[in-house]
Protein backbone atom coordinates (compact mmCIF):
# COMPACT_ATOMS: atom_id res chain seq x y z
CA UNK A 1 0.00 0.00 0.00
CA UNK A 2 1.68 3.05 -1.22
CA UNK A 3 0.79 6.38 0.30
CA UNK A 4 3.19 8.48 -1.65
CA UNK A 5 1.22 9.03 -4.81
CA UNK A 6 1.38 12.80 -4.39
CA UNK A 7 5.12 12.89 -4.34
CA UNK A 8 7.54 12.86 -7.18
CA UNK A 9 10.55 10.61 -7.20
CA UNK A 10 12.88 13.47 -6.27
CA UNK A 11 11.04 13.98 -3.01
CA UNK A 12 10.86 10.28 -2.33
CA UNK A 13 14.63 10.04 -2.67
CA UNK A 14 15.25 13.29 -0.80
CA UNK A 15 13.20 12.09 2.18
CA UNK A 16 15.10 8.79 2.09
CA UNK A 17 18.39 10.69 2.17
CA UNK A 18 17.09 12.75 5.08
CA UNK A 19 15.93 9.63 6.94
CA UNK A 20 19.33 8.03 6.45
CA UNK A 21 21.03 11.25 7.57
CA UNK A 22 22.89 11.58 4.28
CA UNK A 23 22.10 15.26 3.65
CA UNK A 24 24.67 17.87 4.56
CA UNK A 25 23.77 20.32 7.32
CA UNK A 26 22.42 23.03 5.02
CA UNK A 27 20.21 20.68 2.96
CA UNK A 28 19.02 19.05 6.14
CA UNK A 29 17.94 22.37 7.57
CA UNK A 30 16.22 23.38 4.34
CA UNK A 31 14.39 20.06 4.30
CA UNK A 32 13.23 20.51 7.89
CA UNK A 33 11.79 23.91 6.94
CA UNK A 34 9.72 22.24 4.23
CA UNK A 35 8.71 19.45 6.59
CA UNK A 36 7.02 21.93 8.94
CA UNK A 37 4.50 22.99 6.30
CA UNK A 38 4.03 19.80 4.36
CA UNK A 39 2.01 17.00 5.93
CA UNK A 40 2.53 14.82 2.86
CA UNK A 41 6.28 15.08 3.29
CA UNK A 42 5.95 14.16 6.96
CA UNK A 43 3.89 11.14 5.96
CA UNK A 44 6.60 10.16 3.50
CA UNK A 45 9.24 10.51 6.20
CA UNK A 46 7.19 8.34 8.53
CA UNK A 47 6.99 5.66 5.86
CA UNK A 48 10.74 5.79 5.39
CA UNK A 49 11.41 5.67 9.13
CA UNK A 50 9.02 2.75 9.62
CA UNK A 51 10.55 0.93 6.66
CA UNK A 52 14.15 1.41 7.75
CA UNK A 53 13.78 0.86 11.49
CA UNK A 54 13.99 -2.91 11.17
CA UNK A 55 17.64 -2.43 10.31
CA UNK A 56 18.04 -1.74 14.03
CA UNK A 57 16.58 -5.14 14.98
CA UNK A 58 20.02 -6.67 14.97
CA UNK A 59 21.31 -4.15 17.49
CA UNK A 60 21.52 -5.91 20.83
CA UNK A 61 20.19 -4.10 23.90
CA UNK A 62 22.95 -3.03 26.29
CA UNK A 63 22.00 -2.02 29.81
CA UNK A 64 23.18 1.54 30.44
CA UNK A 65 24.99 2.25 33.72
CA UNK A 66 22.41 2.66 36.53
CA UNK A 67 23.56 6.20 37.37
CA UNK A 68 22.35 7.49 33.98
CA UNK A 69 18.70 7.36 34.93
CA UNK A 70 19.22 9.58 37.95
CA UNK A 71 21.33 11.94 35.88
CA UNK A 72 18.56 12.25 33.28
CA UNK A 73 15.89 12.84 35.90
CA UNK A 74 18.10 15.41 37.57
CA UNK A 75 18.59 17.23 34.26
CA UNK A 76 14.88 17.24 33.57
CA UNK A 77 13.49 17.89 36.96
CA UNK A 78 16.11 20.52 37.75
CA UNK A 79 18.91 20.87 40.27
CA UNK A 80 22.25 19.08 40.49
CA UNK A 81 22.76 15.33 40.51
CA UNK A 82 23.43 13.63 43.80
CA UNK A 83 25.75 10.71 43.50
CA UNK A 84 26.71 7.93 45.84
CA UNK A 85 23.50 8.18 47.75
CA UNK A 86 23.15 5.49 50.40
CA UNK A 87 20.52 4.35 52.79
CA UNK A 88 22.65 5.44 55.74
CA UNK A 89 23.29 8.83 54.22
CA UNK A 90 19.60 9.33 53.69
CA UNK A 91 18.76 9.03 57.30
CA UNK A 92 22.05 10.19 58.78
CA UNK A 93 22.49 13.37 56.81
CA UNK A 94 19.01 14.59 57.40
CA UNK A 95 19.56 14.49 61.12
CA UNK A 96 17.02 11.82 61.67
CA UNK A 97 18.34 9.35 64.19
CA UNK A 98 19.10 5.95 62.76
CA UNK A 99 17.16 4.50 65.64
CA UNK A 100 14.14 5.96 63.97
CA UNK A 101 14.39 3.27 61.35
CA UNK A 102 14.29 0.63 64.02
CA UNK A 103 11.07 2.09 65.34
CA UNK A 104 9.22 1.50 62.11
CA UNK A 105 5.69 0.71 62.93
CA UNK A 106 4.48 -2.30 61.05
CA UNK A 107 0.93 -3.37 61.30
CA UNK A 108 -1.70 -5.40 59.65
CA UNK A 109 -4.15 -2.84 58.40
CA UNK A 110 -7.76 -2.90 57.50
CA UNK A 111 -8.36 -1.18 54.26
CA UNK A 112 -10.92 1.48 53.62
CA UNK A 113 -13.62 0.74 51.07
CA UNK A 114 -11.75 2.56 48.34
CA UNK A 115 -8.69 0.46 48.86
CA UNK A 116 -10.51 -2.83 48.96
CA UNK A 117 -9.38 -5.15 46.21
CA UNK A 118 -10.87 -8.60 46.49
CA UNK A 119 -8.62 -10.53 44.07
CA UNK A 120 -5.08 -11.80 44.63
CA UNK A 121 -2.66 -11.26 47.50
CA UNK A 122 -1.98 -7.77 48.70
CA UNK A 123 0.78 -6.31 50.81
CA UNK A 124 0.47 -3.75 53.49
CA UNK A 125 2.60 -1.11 55.10
CA UNK A 126 1.97 1.45 57.73
CA UNK A 127 4.22 4.36 56.95
CA UNK A 128 4.36 6.22 60.22
CA UNK A 129 6.37 8.93 61.92
CA UNK A 130 7.82 8.11 65.30
CA UNK A 131 5.44 10.49 67.02
CA UNK A 132 2.62 9.41 64.71
CA UNK A 133 2.29 12.98 63.46
CA UNK A 134 2.13 11.43 60.02
CA UNK A 135 0.53 8.03 59.43
CA UNK A 136 -0.16 6.62 55.99
CA UNK A 137 -1.61 3.22 55.24
CA UNK A 138 -0.42 1.67 52.03
CA UNK A 139 -1.90 -1.39 50.37
CA UNK A 140 0.04 -2.80 47.45
CA UNK A 141 -1.70 -4.91 44.84
CA UNK A 142 0.98 -6.67 42.77
CA UNK A 143 -1.53 -7.73 40.10
CA UNK A 144 -2.58 -4.16 39.42
CA UNK A 145 0.84 -2.72 40.22
CA UNK A 146 -0.82 -0.09 42.36
CA UNK A 147 -0.54 1.16 45.88
CA UNK A 148 -3.72 2.36 47.53
CA UNK A 149 -2.84 5.18 49.88
CA UNK A 150 -4.84 6.27 52.88
CA UNK A 151 -3.33 9.13 54.83
CA UNK A 152 -4.88 8.95 58.26
CA UNK A 153 -2.80 11.49 60.14
CA UNK A 154 -0.68 14.50 59.22
CA UNK A 155 -0.20 16.35 55.94
CA UNK A 156 2.40 18.28 53.99
CA UNK A 157 3.16 21.74 55.32
CA UNK A 158 2.05 24.68 53.17
CA UNK A 159 4.15 25.06 50.04
CA UNK A 160 5.67 21.59 50.39
CA UNK A 161 4.64 18.11 49.27
CA UNK A 162 4.93 14.57 50.55
CA UNK A 163 6.91 12.25 48.30
CA UNK A 164 6.74 8.47 48.51
CA UNK A 165 9.90 6.39 48.16
CA UNK A 166 10.67 2.73 47.85
CA UNK A 167 13.82 1.44 49.47
CA UNK A 168 14.28 -2.00 47.99
CA UNK A 169 16.28 -4.64 49.79
CA UNK A 170 19.93 -4.27 48.87
CA UNK A 171 19.26 -1.20 46.70
CA UNK A 172 21.79 1.63 46.93
CA UNK A 173 19.15 4.26 47.59
CA UNK A 174 15.48 5.15 47.55
CA UNK A 175 13.53 5.28 44.30
CA UNK A 176 10.73 7.79 43.98
CA UNK A 177 7.22 6.44 43.57
CA UNK A 178 5.89 9.93 43.11
CA UNK A 179 4.44 12.84 44.98
CA UNK A 180 1.34 12.14 47.05
CA UNK A 181 -1.70 14.25 46.19
CA UNK A 182 -3.22 16.53 48.78
CA UNK A 183 -6.24 14.24 49.12
CA UNK A 184 -6.12 11.65 51.90
CA UNK A 185 -6.94 8.79 49.53
CA UNK A 186 -4.86 8.12 46.45
CA UNK A 187 -3.68 5.41 44.12
CA UNK A 188 0.00 5.32 43.17
CA UNK A 189 1.07 3.28 40.19
CA UNK A 190 4.30 1.30 40.65
CA UNK A 191 6.56 0.90 37.58
CA UNK A 192 6.74 -2.67 36.40
CA UNK A 193 10.45 -2.89 37.11
CA UNK A 194 9.90 -2.05 40.77
CA UNK A 195 6.97 -4.31 41.56
CA UNK A 196 8.99 -7.29 42.72
CA UNK A 197 11.12 -5.04 44.87
CA UNK A 198 8.01 -3.77 46.64
CA UNK A 199 7.59 -7.07 48.43
CA UNK A 200 9.93 -7.03 51.40
CA UNK A 201 10.86 -3.44 50.64
CA UNK A 202 10.47 -0.38 52.79
CA UNK A 203 8.36 2.67 52.00
CA UNK A 204 9.33 6.11 53.17
CA UNK A 205 7.78 9.56 52.91
CA UNK A 206 9.89 12.68 52.72
CA UNK A 207 9.17 16.39 52.82
CA UNK A 208 9.92 17.92 49.41
CA UNK A 209 9.50 21.13 47.44
CA UNK A 210 6.44 21.50 45.19
CA UNK A 211 6.72 19.12 42.25
CA UNK A 212 8.79 16.67 44.24
CA UNK A 213 12.47 16.12 44.79
CA UNK A 214 14.43 17.83 42.05
CA UNK A 215 17.36 15.42 42.35
CA UNK A 216 15.90 11.93 42.14
CA UNK A 217 16.76 11.36 45.81
CA UNK A 218 15.06 12.71 48.93
CA UNK A 219 16.17 16.26 49.66
CA UNK A 220 13.99 17.08 52.67
CA UNK A 221 13.44 15.37 56.01
CA UNK A 222 12.30 11.75 55.97
CA UNK A 223 9.08 12.00 57.90
CA UNK A 224 7.79 8.46 58.02
CA UNK A 225 8.91 4.93 57.22
CA UNK A 226 7.27 1.53 57.06
CA UNK A 227 8.06 -1.99 55.84
CA UNK A 228 5.89 -3.74 53.28
CA UNK A 229 4.55 -7.01 54.68
CA UNK A 230 2.19 -9.61 53.33
CA UNK A 231 -1.41 -9.33 54.44
Amino acid sequence: MTQTGDHNEDDIVLVGEYALHLLDAASRLAFEERLLDDAGLRQLLREWDEGLVSLADGIAPVAPPPRLKGAIEARLFEAPVKRGFTFGALFGRRGVALGFVALIAVGILFSSNLLERPQGPTYLAEIAAEDRGLVVEARFDPAAGEIGINRIAGAAVTGRVLELWLIAEGAPGPVSLGVLPTSALAVVSVPEALRTAMIGGTLAISDEPLGGSPTGAPTGAVLAVGAVTSS
Partner: protein, 180 residues
Protein backbone atom coordinates in the same frame (compact mmCIF):
# COMPACT_ATOMS: atom_id res chain seq x y z
CA UNK B 1 6.82 -8.58 29.76
CA UNK B 2 6.48 -5.09 28.36
CA UNK B 3 4.42 -5.01 25.19
CA UNK B 4 4.37 -2.49 22.38
CA UNK B 5 1.10 -1.15 23.71
CA UNK B 6 2.62 -0.72 27.20
CA UNK B 7 5.39 1.34 25.64
CA UNK B 8 2.85 3.40 23.74
CA UNK B 9 0.98 4.05 26.98
CA UNK B 10 4.17 5.08 28.74
CA UNK B 11 4.97 7.56 25.97
CA UNK B 12 1.49 9.07 25.98
CA UNK B 13 1.51 9.39 29.76
CA UNK B 14 5.00 10.84 29.68
CA UNK B 15 3.57 13.45 27.34
CA UNK B 16 1.14 14.36 30.10
CA UNK B 17 4.01 14.95 32.49
CA UNK B 18 3.74 11.61 34.29
CA UNK B 19 7.17 10.96 35.79
CA UNK B 20 6.30 7.44 36.83
CA UNK B 21 5.39 6.56 33.25
CA UNK B 22 8.63 8.19 32.09
CA UNK B 23 10.52 6.06 34.58
CA UNK B 24 8.77 2.91 33.29
CA UNK B 25 9.49 3.93 29.71
CA UNK B 26 13.16 4.32 30.58
CA UNK B 27 13.26 0.92 32.28
CA UNK B 28 11.58 -0.77 29.33
CA UNK B 29 13.50 0.86 26.49
CA UNK B 30 16.83 2.29 27.65
CA UNK B 31 18.83 -0.87 26.93
CA UNK B 32 17.68 -0.98 23.32
CA UNK B 33 18.25 2.73 22.80
CA UNK B 34 21.65 2.56 24.50
CA UNK B 35 22.49 -0.24 22.04
CA UNK B 36 21.53 2.08 19.18
CA UNK B 37 23.65 4.95 20.55
CA UNK B 38 26.60 2.61 21.05
CA UNK B 39 26.26 1.22 17.57
CA UNK B 40 26.32 4.64 15.93
CA UNK B 41 28.90 6.28 18.19
CA UNK B 42 31.05 3.25 18.98
CA UNK B 43 32.19 5.01 22.13
CA UNK B 44 30.75 4.30 25.53
CA UNK B 45 31.15 7.72 27.13
CA UNK B 46 29.62 9.45 24.13
CA UNK B 47 26.82 6.92 23.95
CA UNK B 48 26.02 7.62 27.61
CA UNK B 49 25.82 11.35 26.91
CA UNK B 50 23.72 10.70 23.83
CA UNK B 51 21.33 8.49 25.79
CA UNK B 52 20.79 11.29 28.29
CA UNK B 53 19.97 13.66 25.44
CA UNK B 54 17.61 11.06 24.00
CA UNK B 55 15.52 10.75 27.16
CA UNK B 56 15.53 14.49 27.76
CA UNK B 57 14.18 14.86 24.22
CA UNK B 58 11.64 12.09 24.77
CA UNK B 59 10.35 13.89 27.85
CA UNK B 60 10.10 17.15 25.90
CA UNK B 61 8.55 15.70 22.76
CA UNK B 62 6.31 12.96 24.11
CA UNK B 63 3.27 15.24 24.00
CA UNK B 64 3.53 15.35 20.21
CA UNK B 65 3.81 11.57 19.95
CA UNK B 66 0.10 10.80 19.88
CA UNK B 67 -0.46 12.80 16.72
CA UNK B 68 2.66 11.90 14.76
CA UNK B 69 1.47 8.45 13.73
CA UNK B 70 4.71 6.60 14.49
CA UNK B 71 4.76 3.19 16.07
CA UNK B 72 6.37 3.56 19.50
CA UNK B 73 9.66 1.73 18.95
CA UNK B 74 10.17 3.41 15.57
CA UNK B 75 9.73 6.79 17.17
CA UNK B 76 12.16 5.98 19.98
CA UNK B 77 14.80 4.30 17.85
CA UNK B 78 14.65 7.02 15.18
CA UNK B 79 15.09 9.67 17.85
CA UNK B 80 18.03 7.84 19.44
CA UNK B 81 19.66 7.28 16.08
CA UNK B 82 19.21 10.88 14.93
CA UNK B 83 20.66 12.37 18.10
CA UNK B 84 23.56 9.92 18.02
CA UNK B 85 24.35 10.82 14.42
CA UNK B 86 24.14 14.54 15.22
CA UNK B 87 26.72 13.89 17.92
CA UNK B 88 28.81 11.78 15.56
CA UNK B 89 28.84 14.57 12.98
CA UNK B 90 29.81 17.10 15.61
CA UNK B 91 33.11 15.36 16.20
CA UNK B 92 35.86 14.33 13.88
CA UNK B 93 35.15 10.69 13.30
CA UNK B 94 37.81 8.40 14.78
CA UNK B 95 38.58 5.08 13.16
CA UNK B 96 35.90 2.57 14.01
CA UNK B 97 36.75 -0.71 15.57
CA UNK B 98 34.81 -2.92 13.25
CA UNK B 99 35.05 -5.93 15.55
CA UNK B 100 33.30 -4.09 18.37
CA UNK B 101 30.56 -3.14 15.98
CA UNK B 102 30.12 -6.72 14.84
CA UNK B 103 30.06 -7.94 18.43
CA UNK B 104 27.13 -5.73 19.17
CA UNK B 105 25.30 -6.85 16.07
CA UNK B 106 25.87 -10.53 16.67
CA UNK B 107 23.84 -10.83 19.84
CA UNK B 108 20.65 -10.35 17.85
CA UNK B 109 17.35 -8.80 18.82
CA UNK B 110 15.46 -9.65 21.97
CA UNK B 111 12.76 -12.25 21.34
CA UNK B 112 10.03 -9.67 21.81
CA UNK B 113 11.63 -7.18 19.44
CA UNK B 114 12.08 -9.96 16.93
CA UNK B 115 8.44 -10.95 17.24
CA UNK B 116 7.16 -7.42 16.92
CA UNK B 117 9.33 -6.54 13.97
CA UNK B 118 9.49 -9.84 12.20
CA UNK B 119 7.38 -9.03 9.16
CA UNK B 120 8.96 -5.61 8.68
CA UNK B 121 12.39 -7.06 9.10
CA UNK B 122 11.79 -9.58 6.39
CA UNK B 123 10.56 -6.77 4.20
CA UNK B 124 13.57 -4.48 4.55
CA UNK B 125 15.92 -7.41 4.11
CA UNK B 126 14.02 -8.62 1.08
CA UNK B 127 14.04 -5.13 -0.40
CA UNK B 128 17.75 -4.64 0.21
CA UNK B 129 18.35 -8.01 -1.44
CA UNK B 130 16.82 -6.58 -4.60
CA UNK B 131 19.51 -3.90 -4.72
CA UNK B 132 23.10 -4.21 -5.87
CA UNK B 133 25.13 -5.58 -2.91
CA UNK B 134 27.30 -2.47 -2.70
CA UNK B 135 24.26 -0.21 -2.64
CA UNK B 136 22.51 -2.35 -0.03
CA UNK B 137 25.52 -2.26 2.27
CA UNK B 138 25.71 1.51 1.74
CA UNK B 139 22.13 1.83 3.03
CA UNK B 140 23.00 -0.30 6.05
CA UNK B 141 26.18 1.68 6.67
CA UNK B 142 24.28 4.97 6.55
CA UNK B 143 21.54 3.72 8.83
CA UNK B 144 23.53 1.76 11.38
CA UNK B 145 26.79 3.65 11.49
CA UNK B 146 25.81 7.12 10.37
CA UNK B 147 28.11 6.96 7.34
CA UNK B 148 28.13 10.03 5.11
CA UNK B 149 28.20 9.90 1.32
CA UNK B 150 31.93 10.52 1.62
CA UNK B 151 32.41 7.59 4.02
CA UNK B 152 30.41 5.33 1.73
CA UNK B 153 32.34 6.47 -1.36
CA UNK B 154 35.65 5.90 0.41
CA UNK B 155 34.62 2.46 1.52
CA UNK B 156 33.44 1.43 -1.94
CA UNK B 157 36.45 3.09 -3.56
CA UNK B 158 34.39 5.24 -5.91
CA UNK B 159 34.11 9.02 -6.37
CA UNK B 160 31.62 10.85 -4.17
CA UNK B 161 29.31 11.74 -7.04
CA UNK B 162 29.20 8.16 -8.23
CA UNK B 163 28.13 6.97 -4.80
CA UNK B 164 25.52 9.70 -4.61
CA UNK B 165 24.08 8.77 -8.01
CA UNK B 166 24.09 5.04 -7.18
CA UNK B 167 22.45 5.49 -3.86
CA UNK B 168 19.80 7.92 -5.02
CA UNK B 169 18.76 5.47 -7.71
CA UNK B 170 18.71 2.63 -5.17
CA UNK B 171 16.66 4.67 -2.70
CA UNK B 172 13.94 5.14 -5.30
CA UNK B 173 13.83 1.37 -5.83
CA UNK B 174 13.97 0.68 -2.11
CA UNK B 175 11.03 2.96 -1.33
CA UNK B 176 9.05 1.39 -4.11
CA UNK B 177 9.70 -2.06 -2.68
CA UNK B 178 8.92 -1.00 0.93
CA UNK B 179 5.57 0.43 -0.20
CA UNK B 180 4.54 -2.70 -2.04
Amino acid sequence: MTTTSDIETYIVRTGLGDRTAFSSLYDATSAKLFGVCLRVLNNRAEAEDALQDVYVRIWQKANSYAVNGYSPMTWLITLARNLSIDRLRARKAPAKNIEDVLDLADSGPTPEAAAVQKSERAQIDGCLDELDTVHASAVRGAYLEGDTYQDLADRAGVPLNTMRTWLRRSLAKLKDCLSR
